[in-house]
Amino acid sequence: MPVLEVRDLQKHFPVATGTLLRRKTGWVKAVESINFSIEAGETLGLIGESGCGKTTTAKLILLQERPTGGTIRFDGEDIGGLHGDGLMRYRRSVQVVFQDPFASLSPRMRVGDIIAEPLEIHTGMTRQQLQQRVAEVLELVGLSPDVAKLFPHEFSGGQRQRVAIARALATNTRLIILDEPVSALDVSIRAQIINQLEHLQDTLGVSYLFIGHDLATVAHISQRIAVMYLGHLVEIAESTELCAHPLHPYTQALLIAALPAHPDAKQERIAITGEIPSALAPPPGCRFHTRCPHAMPRCSVEAPVSKEVAPGHAVACHLF
């Protein structure tokens, strides 16, 4: 059974205009019927441009927003119906690491207290047990236990992100949402953090939902990748399969935008032109057709449904 299973997930935000009489004039369909699942010990990469609904998906999983439709199941249980003990158990099992390590750690708290916070909420640990657990997770993420006494501003960006990861791990977490965890870091630090995350997964068996916009990074850490465009999931496949045989034109464009392994390597340029359309007025039919080099008349009328073209490789495009 997958750890997390997302079925037909939808999130629509109402849009109101007018200053005095605010009327609902439309909906932003941030997330439209997406499906995916994450197995235990697996990393699913979620990739897409800004505004495509990645972060909304994360918020829905973290219960920061309520879905308009569809279900999210954790261990087979619908999280929409959780309350009381069940909700606390879920809160304990699913944690998040945000993009900006300078904003996600309270400047007024010591690192030890920041990491201990979820433990204080969920366990009746004594002061000493807390300190011990904090030291354990600090060592897990490659920091010295002595740093528990320090304040966040005494750390570099990479170290802060390690602290954030340590906090996410503290409660024996089963699933960590990594919302662009390395986007704010120097390139030299990124690899270290990514390797650390992989190492932690190997030793602890934790699952990741890795959200990013940089295909190279996402492909490196993920076993499977889901590609999002304007609220739709356009392609999902094994990481190696997706990089070797990208089917959706948008995925192909993303791959080409990533740097090649060798600077002299010849590559075909598929220009995707223009901006991502407004989510307020998404194009009819396939949402990518306004920028797609292979667009056909049918694309602007009929929205493609996701088809499994190879085992574990599904794509939503009229070409297939």
Binding site: L87, V96, A103, S104
Partner: protein, 300 residues
Amino acid sequence: MAITTAGRGTEARAAGRWRGKLSAARELPLLPIFILVPFAFAALFAELIAPYDPTMPIPGAKFFMPPYWMEGGSPDALLGTDFQSRDILSRLIFGARVSLLVGIMGTVVAGSLGTALGILSGYLGGWVDQVIMRVTDAWLALPALVFAIFLATLLGPSMWNIVTILGLVYWTRYARVIRGEVLSLREREYVKLAEIAGASSLRVIMRHILPNVLNTTMVLASLTIGVVIIAEASLSFLGVGVPPPEPAWGLMLSEARSTLMAGKWWLTVFPGVCILLVVLATQLFGDWMRIRLDPQQRNL
């Protein structure tokens, strides 16, 4: 700085330390400190400093004795006596206690009430926010002093009633300002993280919201003290504040009002100057706090 060469190191370092101390001293609000420290001292040790009992006439002294440097004055009553031949200086010293105590306690009551309501309003949002903010709006529409007089007549005159009343009158601006601050704080990522980790509202408020709004509360408080002291003096002047024979500056002004035209200036000028100085000092101090606690003005 003096870390380059060892030879002139100690000297230069000593000089640097001096300069450091000087600039630290320059940063302190010297004027408010010079004014407030003597008043606070007088308020704390009034029994030891004051030459006479402030509520009892000086035995054998005349009514309306002028200050000692004027004709008819006596060194026995340095600042003269009032209509009951009580010592003005002693009354001023004990009055400082009333003024500062009411000023500080009234501010504490207003600050706690306003901060608590502001946090609840900003953090919980929804109908709680609506109710608290509409009550605040209504409260702000009431003229402060008239409202205070109404409450004072309702509760009856006593110093602690005045503290309660002034707290009830001046909490609104805390609620407004703190609510705004909380609205921005609750969107911070570390607050979101605490919520995602399952923290209760109470826990988020105590651990993340309250520590971050205390700065603002302190600045508002230091600016409110002066206003509260004036309000206390006004209420006492109007006869609904601290009841006689307790010495309060506002009450002294009130008692001297009828004799002001008769040239007995010392009865009004001394308490008036005391109110002026204390309020001025607290306002200057509040301004200094505001600048000190503002990260942008500190060049952080």
